[in-house]
């Protein structure tokens, strides 16, 4: 069975994120003065072939924490869903 995985990687809380800080500083200039807590990150999409959702998640978690994110400075939020279209 195929599972569609989305992994969001962003800076851990407390780790400086100058990109997000710069974007946030620009917001009031555009009139967005009620927006805060901005975080910048990257999204990865991939498909895992696995017997069930738990197995797919375990592969996705392993991949996310060993390669896509560096746990020293980043967090990875992993979501796994049965793939709707065969890939």
């Amino acid at each position: 069975m195929k599972f569609a995985v989305v992994v969001e990687v962003s800076a851990l809380e407390g780790i400086s994120d100058p990109e997000a800080a710069t974007i946030e500083r620009a917001l009031p200039l555009l009139g967005f003065d009620r927006v805060s807590g901005l975080r910048a990150g990257r999204i990865f999409h991939f498909v895992v072939d696995a017997g069930d959702v738990a197995e797919a998640r375990s592969v996705a978690d392993d991949l996310s924490h060993r390669l896509l994110a560096n746990p020293v400075i980043q967090r990875a939020d992993v979501s796994v869903q049965p793939a709707e279209v065969s890939v």
Binding site: I15, S16, P18, E19, T22, L67, L68, N70, V72, I73
Partner: protein
């Protein structure tokens, strides 16, 4: 340094490395036999020491050093480190060694998102690493820096521990990139693995503005010679490690 044969140093080359020739030139100038080793090599047993040079290994895609860490040669680099042989990561090489967990912490984008290219002063704050054993505590060295991701980061408690245990060999006199504790270099617990953002190999000729890198590379080669002599004396080749 050994009288019988020159110290041999592997300079590891990834697709995208670009400081490997500078490293070979600088090490050769100090009497070493430095050789380029492509990243698909699986053994570094013929070398007394390893240098992971600067550049953009594997295009720095994903994160600096994140993909280089899985290059075949990295197992051999880890083996060399475990066996106590000197391993030096310069700039991108430092990033690779942190991603490979040979050194603690990580290197973030510079504070202020500025690429820095400059000659900066670094102070020797610990001489218990292979890079600084031959230097003087408090010695100030003029070294070139050239990076976007040199902002050293780790947990505050970990930083205090590194500092207290002499694992911060070099500190910037004036912090150019936002590094915690103005850390310019970090070593592992036994001091044989060191990573630094400045480029000592580019500070080995008056033509390039400074020769202060020589004391560091000399120290590194001295340590490699010592390690090689110990291995030669050991009955079963290299010591089994610690």
């Amino acid at each position: 340094m050994s009288d019988e044969r020159p110290v041999s140093v592997a300079v590891v080359v990834f697709p995208g490395s670009n400081c490997e020739h500078d490293a070979v030139q600088a090490l050769s100038g100090l009497g070493a036999r430095a050789e380029l080793v492509w990243h698909t090599a699986r053994s570094l047993d013929d070398f007394d020491a390893v240098v992971v040079p600067g550049g953009f290994a594997h295009g720095d895609y994903l994160r600096c050093g994140a993909i280089a860490r899985f290059s075949p040669v990295m197992d051999a680099v880890c083996e060399a480190a475990e066996a106590g042989r000197p391993v030096l990561g310069i700039c991108n090489g430092f990033q690779v060694l942190t991603e490979a967990h040979l050194l603690p912490g990580a290197l973030l984008r510079n504070a202020g998102l500025r690429f820095v290219c400059d000659i900066v002063e670094c102070e020797v704050v610990s001489v218990s690493s292979v890079l600084t054993a031959g230097a003087r505590l408090g010695q100030r060295l003029k070294l070139p820096i050239n990076h976007f991701e040199g902002n050293y980061t780790c947990e505050l408690e970990a930083l205090r521990e590194l500092e207290a245990s002499g694992r911060v060999p070099l500190r910037y006199v004036s912090n150019p990139n936002g590094s915690m504790g103005a850390v310019a270099a970090v070593s592992n617990e036994s001091g044989n693995v060191v990573g630094l953002m400045p480029h000592p190999e580019r500070a080995c000729s008056h033509l390039t503005g400074s020769v202060d890198g020589q004391v560091l590379l000399q120290s590194f080669l001295q340590a490699a010679a010592g390690e090689a002599a110990m291995s030669a004396a050991a009955p079963a080749g290299r010591p089994a490690g610690d």
